[in-house]
Amino acid sequence: MKDGATLAATIPFANRENARSEGDQHQLEPRDAWMRPVSFFGLLRILRIVAGSPAGLRAGELDEIIRSGGAYQTGNGRPSRTTLYHCRNTLLRLGALKREGRRVTVERFDPLVAALLNEEQIDSLSSTAKEHFATLVLRNSDCRRHFFDLFMRGSSDYTLADFRNRGRSVVWFWERPSPTGKRAVLEGSGGRSMALSSPSAIKGILYGVRYWARDQLGLIDEFFREERGFIMYPLRPFGEEEDPSRIAKQIASLAPPGIRKWVELSVSDLKVQLCEKRRQEVRSLLNAIQWLEAAHAGYVVLVPTSRAFATLTASSANREQLQLRGYFQDNQGRYISHIRLHNSVLSALKEA
């Protein structure tokens, strides 16, 4: 089509390539991208196994114990040797394990590791264990330099609390610098950016440390906006503002003043205002919408969108899933883009 190329220039993503100079980009060496998607609950169990052998364990011995005892599960069941290598490597790189000759032992004198070992044994990773692991991850220089520093303005000396309270958003998106090339670009709000071109860099950062921070440790959350890309932002500490009625009240506070009977709010805009700006999980917002619909039935209207349009800019099944992740799905399976609130609900929420 004649206008295809010229139209691409009107799409914000396409403009970014030229807008960014090469000078402010941060480059990543493949050897620094050792992070891989692993389960931190599994890591804690591995840590306990090693702690049970004060003299340490050889890699083969450790792998055998893990596999025979079912200490680490993957989506496919038993973990492969490569997965177990990455688990061991992660614990070593994070300083939870150390090498003594050909054996690995636990870094017992590290208070964080000691605290992790003292954690009560439950079926999932507790929020305290997540915080300890998060501190270990944030302490690692590769993770900081190539991921977490992008969230922080100025000094690279920050604690977990600093990250949660002062961290800014980072936007990532795919771009094609040449017809055959493809790279992921991460742009921090402080003007720092990073391009990931090699498969190992993409694996290590996008599917490694980003996955840890978002899905395993609750350090960040992420949602998609057409004009910006995938927005990652730091989350406040666990447990704060989780009550859906409190978030519903925040939703009501965003309704423009006026005498209209109904107010329509975009869920995508709510994500910016209540999730990105207030550091709350997207899931908390979606729970609040669900709570609103149940608590004020007949006074809240959910406005669905078409699935094709919801993922208008997604060009793969994975990206489609990632974009749909931010949508609220109602009990009929529809993807909700807007909510309409009756003014009596707004008044009730504001007075509550």
Partner: protein, 390 residues
Amino acid sequence: MADATRLGLTSNPFEPAASGAPVTADLWLPESWRTRLRSSIDLLSGGRGVKALAVSGAYGSGKSYVLQWLLREEFPRRHDVKPFYFDNPGVQFYDLANSLLRQIGRKDLAKCIWELAAIHVTGYQRDLFLRGFEEYLRSHRRQTTDVLSELQTSIVNARITADEEIAHRLARLVTDSPRKPYFEYRDFVAGRPDALVTEREEAAYFGAILTILRLASGIKSVAFLVDEFEEISLQKRLTKREAHDYLATLRRLIDLTHEGNLWLVVAMTPDAVQKTNALAPALWDRFTNKGKYHWELPALSEGDATALVKHRLAAVRAQGDARADELFPFPPDLVSLLKPATFSTPRRLVQFCFYAIGGATESTPVPFREDYLKKVEAKLYPSAREVAES
């Protein structure tokens, strides 16, 4: 349904699906909606440049109904605008051409081109052209290439288009009609040797079609009423190219409206509005004149909802029934008995009324009582809690 006479009606005037406008009844819009639409159209009629209007609203908010009202009531009232309705047209620009030309029909369009071009034929085959299109169809034995060439020249002379390729494709549309008196999808796939559309000249091609329609019908302009613009693909996932195509189609349509003889009214969901605005803010500004011609359909007020129900009931009120202006068999305070979400959304309200009337038995007291109406409402629109409990 209970005995219709007991309800004072000849039939149930509501539809169960309430999708779009009723096929036969006259179309009714709340006064405030009519005023708003008419003033937008009046304003656009008087000016130059883009004649486009975006109507947005949730599913069931009345978008399709508004487009049908424009198609069946408002544009015909204006005489000089010929409206065409497109439902879920597809992402490619030529999907619109496919839809438009199928509505007109190949024979009618070929006849229009023939008659507009015939008076400009000067050389070979003049007699053939003067005898008319029907005669041509009957006596089709001549060398097609000769007729094709003559017709192509005449199309240019008739000022339908100045582009030789477009003139050729239009001439082929006519000369191939005796062999193939219908359109098929492949005719609109640009780039194929037998395509009836030109590649990379979509806007000019459409301009020629619009010129034919204007000249042949003696009208001033054509209106495209495009419904469900967001349902641009039946596929689950669009490619990046198709996402661009969506915006490209919109942009080409807006470019066409610049000529002054095409109206474009597009119905879309709030999400489609937000995404189009986010992906191409400049295009959205041009389309809606910085939001001036974007109308978000409002929720029905209590008064509008009551008027809608009364209007539908009046159309099927039994002859001689004195309650022509009443809500019977519904109680006079119907709207106050319903949840705001039910009566403020036209589709929900119409569906509710359909099931209330359709579900009434001989023993259902009339006018309907509150408990009966609440039962119908709860069955149709259970709350999330009720769904979870069930």
